[in-house]
């Protein structure tokens, strides 16, 4: 990478204004219908065009990391549900993976299968909700969101009967899961999985060839592949720019190697590609689910000798990461031999995916900023931690 590349994509492009009209400073502030929660963008406008856009964070900074350093390892598990409150099971899995790496804990076969099944179900309901919110920001006030939430309710029913809570599952433990997935749960999961392809087809018929969606999203918020890599973008946003990097295939964590599934890639890196990548990822998750539900083995759902409560890992550190629906979610734990980690760090995919928000929005109209922001798919609990 040449020297010039160092500066080229380091700063967002600036537009020189020919001084005709005055610039209007607007705060699309913490309380704004389009910001998925309490996120603020200070936008400088020249009429309708965006000249500068400065994101402001911290309105939901709930101090996960400081609490993580005071409470024990196990007591931190319910807090991980509240990080990305759409996908509590993948958060649990990432934290469990990090601690298992820290203490060198093995996970039995059945627990791995249960983890894959629940993670892929979480991915499907997250992508469906994201597309629902994205189209709502494009003006389809609520109809696609109703479809997405109708499917999400079915999946949440399964989570509730299995883990006891709809959104805050607190299900994984270091070395397996808290409760076994009985045959009834597996049949419920099979019923959901058989119903989902019809839902995705219905969703695609409603949205994919819709002119308004195409007009509002094709060519908008384009993200170049090398800027995406350098800015640490991960998840569907990165793959929509054409970079083939899916941690399920790179790190080979869990038992993803046993399932045959493809990683969808986009070409232009615009909003329509991000929408398509999420729809195709839902279909790939379905394939994984079918294979996992078919050959889930019997056996212990947790390693009987696993130490769960009040254990003291040897001094050392570990960084465990998984492919969360929003990108690479990682937990970095430094232990000094105590019952709670010395340093508890969360690598938030949504927070880092917002690094290039300004690059994508400059020069577009204000209405498109809302759609570009929706396509990044962030959750404030994880952004501000």
């Amino acid at each position: 990478m040449s020297e010039s590349l160092l500066e080229a994509w380091n700063r967002p492009p600036t537009i020189e204004v020919d001084g005709e009209g005055e610039l209007l400073e607007v705060a699309m502030g913490p309380h704004h219908p389009s910001t998925h929660g309490v996120f603020r963008m200070d936008v400088v406008l020249d009429g309708e065009r965006v000249i500068k856009l400065k994101p402001v964070f911290g309105y939901l900074h709930r101090n996960h990391e400081q609490i993580g350093q005071t409470v024990g390892y196990l007591q931190m598990m319910p807090y991980t549900d509240r990080l990305d409150y759409f996908c509590s099971l993948t958060n649990n899995w990432a934290y469990a993976l990090a601690v298992e790496k820290l203490v060198g804990q093995a996970v039995p076969e059945r627990a791995e299968y249960i983890r894959v099944i629940l993670a892929e179900l979480t991915r499907i309901q997250n992508h469906a909700s994201t597309i629902g919110f994205l189209t709502q920001e494009m003006g389809a006030s609520g109809t696609p969101l109703m479809y997405a939430f109708r499917e999400r309710e079915k999946i949440l029913d399964l989570f509730e009967s299995l883990t006891g809570s709809r959104m805050m599952c607190n299900y994984m433990r270091f070395g397996g899961c808290r409760v076994d997935m009985t045959e009834a749960h597996l049949n419920a999961a099979r019923k959901i999985v058989t119903g989902l392809p019809r839902f995705i087809d219905e969703f695609e018929n409603l949205l994919t060839s819709n002119e308004i969606l195409m007009a509002r999203s094709q060519g908008m918020g384009v993200l170049k592949p090398d800027l995406a890599v350098n800015a640490g973008i991960t998840g569907p946003m990165l793959r929509a720019s054409g970079v083939n990097y899916d941690i399920r295939k790179v790190d080979h964590y869990g038992i993803y190697d046993r399932f045959s599934f493809r990683v969808p890639l986009g070409e232009h890196g615009d909003i329509y590609d991000r929408y398509m990548v999420r729809v195709l990822e839902m279909r790939e998750s379905l394939k994984i689910l079918e294979q996992a539900l078919k050959d889930i083995p019997a056996g212990p759902f947790i390693d009987p000798k696993a130490k769960i409560r009040g254990f003291k890992p040897k001094p050392g550190e570990a960084y465990g990461r998984i492919e969360a629906p929003k990108g690479e979610l990682g937990f970095y734990l430094i232990s000094d031999g105590g019952t709670s980690p010395y340093r508890f760090r969360i690598r938030p995919p949504s927070f880092i995916n917002l690094t290039v928000l300004e690059d994508m929005c400059i020069g577009q109209n204000v209405a498109d900023v809302v759609v570009v922001f929706g396509s990044v798919d962030i959750v404030l609990g994880e952004v501000d931690r």
């Binding site: 900074h61 990097y245 990461r321 340093r343 690598r347």
Partner: protein, 222 residues
């Protein structure tokens, strides 16, 4: 992928004068990290990104860690000449005396970078940088010009730990409000007391509740 030792030698050859040190990692994950001195950190990082064989083009995670001053007391045998009465004659006899020696190793702030390669699909290489001490020498070179991913994360480390990243394009507080003065994630930070109420109060919440009770009763007494 190269092991940490090979990467260490590779950096030393590429960046002349860089003092590197391997920090062992006690956990079974055995991801040892490379401690780089602040002066050559920028050049070493740029080498790691541009090297054809490593190509670490993806900075996944930037973490701030606060290591407090450590007081280590150990028993040490010291031989010291002592005045002794030996059968009526004062002679200097050196005698081994057991003493507890308190050594205070100064604390420091640390920035940990996790590097991966999206091109070659390998990693992680963990890079560590340490500041002089925890009070005045807290500058570290910013790696944002090399990896744009570090921009927000370094601002967060500055906001919560107080490490000043020189060369960062826009170093402001990111999570706390701008008027906030102290660095909340440091180990010695005491958060303000605002009537945290707990029906079954314990340890510091109980102490604060008793302090409030005492304050209100004395107020009532006046």
């Amino acid at each position: 992928m190269k092991t940490v030792e090979e990467i260490k030698t590779a950096i030393e050859t590429a960046v002349s004068g860089a003092q590197l040190e391997i920090v062992p990692n006690g956990s079974p994950s055995a991801e040892h990290s490379l401690l780089v001195d602040a002066a050559h950190a920028f050049a070493a990082a740029k080498f790691l990104r541009d090297d054809a064989e490593l190509k670490l083009d993806f900075l996944s995670n930037v973490t701030g860690v606060d290591w407090l001053d450590k007081e280590t007391t150990e028993k040490v045998k010291v031989t010291r000449p002592v005045e002794k009465e030996v059968n009526g004659v004062k002679t200097m006899v050196d005698e081994t005396v057991e003493e507890t020696k308190k050594t205070v190793t100064p604390g420091y702030l640390e920035a940990v970078y996790h590097l991966y390669s999206m091109a070659k699909k390998h990693g992680p290489v963990i890079l560590r940088m340490r500041t002089g001490n925890r009070s005045d020498k807290v500058e570290l070179p910013s790696l944002t010009p090399i990896w744009r991913a570090a921009e927000f994360q370094e601002r967060e480390v500055f906001d919560l730990f107080g490490i000043i990243f020189t060369g960062h394009p826009d170093l402001r507080r990111i999570l706390m409000w701008d008027g906030f003065k102290d660095y909340p994630m440091r180990r010695d930070y005491v958060d303000p007391d605002d009537y945290e109420y707990e029906p079954t109060a314990h340890d510091d919440v109980l102490k604060r509740a008793q302090a409030h009770l005492a304050a209100t009763t004395t107020e009532a007494a006046q």
